[in-house]
């Protein structure tokens, strides 16, 4: 195949990428009013192969968004409602004894709800740490090990989790290791008055999601492969690394705001996630290279759950996003 033909094919893929993204946006907009940024970031995470943690007060459409997404993606979808009495086996599945037709007893693995392409972990912080830990392996390695036997989960695989920041009774904060497995933590804000009115109108007609399936798992994987070829300039890569590095107060060269307000910084997964997600965002924006803007925009959802501010920041009434803004400002471009 000649270069020209290859280019034509690649251009077709890019064109297809844009069309699919537009379709996904359109379909999601049928069920979710507003939240354009949240939708875009969810799409980025799905294409990039990352998990998403949605945080918001009850009723802002977190679960609806994920359910609608499940319909749009035309992928096997499962929902796990996390409760304190939820056991790990309720998530991963378990071995059971089953009598076959011949009357012989056999041990059979019954798959849990995690065996789907799109998993909604609703109110994930209500489960005990033990159950939450059952999610670690599957979120990172996309496989489940039960009774020393490992089961691979079909790609693409995403976990979209929700949590409620208000109700703290009977909740278990997610451990840092698990938080790090989420590529994005998206804050779903309360809708505006106009959006609220649209929501009310929409739900008067039907409560069911009306979005149609417009994209397959195969297509998502192709889009992911395409996005991975987007070039990143050395300066942008260095900037990304510096930005993540600057979240660590223990480093000598970290900015003053980091030293003052940050308790601990983001892991290397943040840098990986930033570049991966930035490539997808670049394509979504019609570009073929990653820019500083991609990194800066994605820094908030990627860094905000991977680093922790200290009491000084709280005392100064600073949120994590404020500190991230400071760090972005203080990070020099190459």
């Amino acid at each position: 195949m000649s270069n020209t033909e290859n280019n034509v094919m690649e251009m077709e893929k890019v064109k297809l990428f844009s069309e699919k993204i537009t379709k996904v946006r359109t379909e999601l907009a049928k069920d979710v009013v507003g939240q354009k940024e949240i939708i875009d970031n969810v799409i980025i995470a799905i294409v990039a192969g990352g998990n998403v943690l949605l945080e918001g007060v009850p009723g802002v459409g977190k679960t609806r968004l994920v359910r609608s997404l499940g319909k749009v993606l035309s992928l096997p979808f499962s929902r796990i409602q996390f409760t304190p009495d939820l056991m790990p086996s309720d998530v991963t599945g378990t071995n059971i004894i089953e009598k076959d037709d011949a009357g012989k007893l056999n041990t059979v693995f019954r798959r849990g709800p995690i065996f789907a392409n799109l998993v909604l972990a609703d109110e994930i912080n209500r489960a005990t740490p033990k159950t939450q830990s059952a999610m670690l392996e599957v979120m990172q390695e996309h496989k489940v090990t039960v009774a020393n036997k490992t089961y691979k989960i079909e790609e693409p695989f995403f976990v979209l989790a929700t949590e409620n920041p208000i109700e703290q009774d009977g909740t278990y904060p997610l451990p840092e290791a698990q938080m790090d497995r989420f590529m994005f933590k998206l804050i779903v804000n309360f809708p505006s008055v106009a959006e609220l009115a649209d929501i009310v109108k929409m739900t008067q007609i039907t409560m069911a999601e009306t979005a149609n399936a417009v994209i397959t798992g195969e297509e998502i994987l192709q889009m992911r492969a395409l996005a991975s070829t987007v070039p990143v300039a050395e300066e942008v890569l260095a900037y990304t690394v510096n930005l993540v590095s600057n979240t660590h107060p223990e480093l000598a060269n970290s900015p003053a705001s980091t030293k003052k307000y940050v308790k601990y910084g983001a892991s290397p997964r943040a840098a990986q996630g930033l570049i991966t997600a930035a490539k997808v965002r670049a394509l979504m924006c019609g570009r073929y290279n990653v820019s500083y803007e991609d990194i800066n925009v994605l820094a908030y959802p990627i860094l905000r759950h991977r680093m922790k501010i200290n009491y000084t920041a709280i005392n100064d009434k600073l949120a994590i996003d404020d500190v991230i803004s400071m760090i972005i400002k203080e990070t020099k471009k190459a």
């Binding site: 270069n3 280019n7 570009r287 073929y288």
Partner: protein
């Protein structure tokens, strides 16, 4: 490399050149202006024209320096393009992956080319160029100001003429000096001339209030006094007269006269001996040896005596000795004695010396010659004595004038020189007014200093002493030698006469 990228690269190079030129011109003009200013206002000792090469030099250095500092790599240019046109790092990415093959890279390059085509290079990199223009304006302003500004030339302050005011004490001293001259033994009309010069000087100094005028008056008076003193030199006249006699023995006498300065006591003794030798060799040298022929010897002797008589008489007259003085009478008597045996007139009555001796007797002739030369010697001493009085008085007046006004007037005394006529012209007669060695030397200038200020050289101690003290010293020396019997009675009489003249002047009643 992308065509559009090269377009921006060329534009950046042009802007860089323009900025370098602007900064070079700005710095050159500024430094040229500063140095021109410093030179014009004489803060820096340099010629104003040197500010031009300084300006050119600094312009070249600054221009090259800025060109070097503003150099930009392709990578930096790509970054600049991305920043200036907000191209989302497209150019940087394209530059970095320019050699990569792949559909996505190709798409990225196409996308970047499209983006670069969409922006104009017209205003690229010119955002801060106004700063460079402003610098150039500042430099031009500095240079223009330096060209336009000129130091305010203050009119030269004319120094007020230095004042002069003669004091009563100085007037009294001048009056005293004039009286001294008037009462001195200096001959007339020299005495009157010097006195007149002093009087005019005093009158002028009383009137003038400016130092420069006083200087001029003083110098004029000193010139006049110097000239008068010079004219009063009897020694010169005598030397001229003797030299022009065309006789080797007489010339020798003239040389000896020229040799002495007449300031030392032993000079008088030596010259007296010279006269004695002259007398002894007079006939012998000029007649007997040169002219063995007796007749011719007598003729020549007679002619020589005539010249001696004539020249010496005339010189003595010029030197102030009257015609009825002893020499003339003595020579006349010699001639008269000759007339007894000769019909000729005056000295031409000499026939031959032998004839003369036969006629009046050898002894008589010798006596006559002795008497003649004794008188000749006395007259010469007499003239030299007067010479000494004249010159001493003149020089004293000048040194006294200087001592009086040295603090108020720029007094410059002439060098008092002894005449020296015959050193360069030893053969043949010489006219004091023409020829080499002729004429009285003197005036203000270089030369052996005979006297200056109030001091004269004491040859015995080789030190400068006050004028009056040396006279006493010499007198005491002479007196001692006389008492020791070193001198004849005639010499003793001549010396006593000489000192009497120095101390008291001529006694005109005695006809001396």
């Amino acid at each position: 490399m992308s065509k559009n990228f090269i377009k921006f690269k060329n534009k950046a190079l042009m802007i860089r050149l323009i900025k370098s030129v602007l900064i070079g011109v700005a710095v050159g003009l500024f430094f040229a202006g500063v140095f021109l200013f410093l030179a014009k206002f004489e803060i820096l000792k340099m010629k104003p024209i040197l500010s031009l090469p300084i300006g050119v030099g600094t312009a070249l250095i600054a221009g090259c320096g800025i060109y070097f500092l503003l150099r930009r790599t392709d990578k930096a240019l790509a970054r600049k393009l991305d920043e200036e046109y907000k191209l989302h790092e497209k150019v940087q990415t394209m530059f970095e992956f320019k050699d990569e093959q792949g559909a996505m890279y190709e798409l990225q390059r196409q996308d970047t080319e499209k983006a670069l085509r969409g922006v104009s290079s017209l205003w690229f990199d010119v955002k801060n160029i106004w700063i460079y223009g402003l610098c150039t304006l500042i430099g031009a302003g500095a240079f223009t100001a330096a060209c336009v500004l000129h130091p305010i030339e203050e009119p030269p302050v004319e120094k007020p003429p230095e004042a002069f005011d003669i004091s009563d004490t100085e007037i009294a001293a001048m009056e005293e000096l004039i009286a001294y001259v008037d009462e001195s033994s200096m001959q007339s009309p020299y005495k009157e001339s010097i006195s007149s010069s002093l009087r005019e000087l005093l009158d002028g100094l009383k009137i003038t209030t400016v130092k420069t005028e006083a200087n001029a008056l003083w110098e004029q008076a000193v010139d006049e006094i110097y000239e008068t003193t010079d004219k009063s030199s009897a020694a010169v006249e005598l030397m001229d007269a003797l030299w022009s006699c065309d006789s080797e023995s007489v010339k020798r006498l003239a040389e000896s006269l020229n040799y002495y300065e007449w300031t030392k006591a032993d000079e008088w003794d030596s010259f007296s001996e010279e006269l004695t030798e002259f007398r002894a060799s007079f006939v012998h040298m000029d007649t007997v040896e040169i002219n063995p022929d007796a007749e011719k010897m007598a003729t020549d002797t007679a002619a020589l005596l005539l010249r001696v008589e004539s020249n010496i008489s005339l010189s003595l007259v010029r030197a102030g000795v009257t015609m009825d003085d002893g020499l003339y009478q003595s020579l006349t008597r010699l001639a008269t004695a000759n007339e007894t045996s000769s019909a000729g007139s005056h000295l031409y009555g000499f026939s031959t010396l032998s004839g003369l001796c036969e006629t009046i007797g050898y002894t008589t002739a010798q006596k006559e010659l002795d008497a003649t030369f004794a008188v000749l010697g006395a007259e010469i001493f007499n003239a030299l004595g007067q010479h000494s009085i004249n010159t001493s008085t003149g020089e004293y007046v000048m040194t006294r004038l200087k001592s009086l006004f040295s603090e108020k007037i720029d007094c410059r005394l002439p060098a008092f020189e002894r005449p020296n006529f015959y050193v360069t012209s030893p053969v043949g007669p010489s006219d004091p007014d023409e020829g080499d060695g002729g004429g009285q030397q003197g005036g203000i200038g270089e030369g052996a200093v005979y006297g200056s200020d109030d001091l004269v050289l004491d040859p015995l101690t080789n030190t400068y002493v006050e004028y009056g003290t040396i006279l006493d010293k010499y007198y005491a020396l002479m007196f001692g030698k006389v008492n020791d019997g070193d001198y004849t009675d005639e010499e003793k009489a001549a010396m006593e006469k000489y000192f009497a003249i120095l101390y008291g002047g001529f006694d005109e009643n005695e006809g001396e």
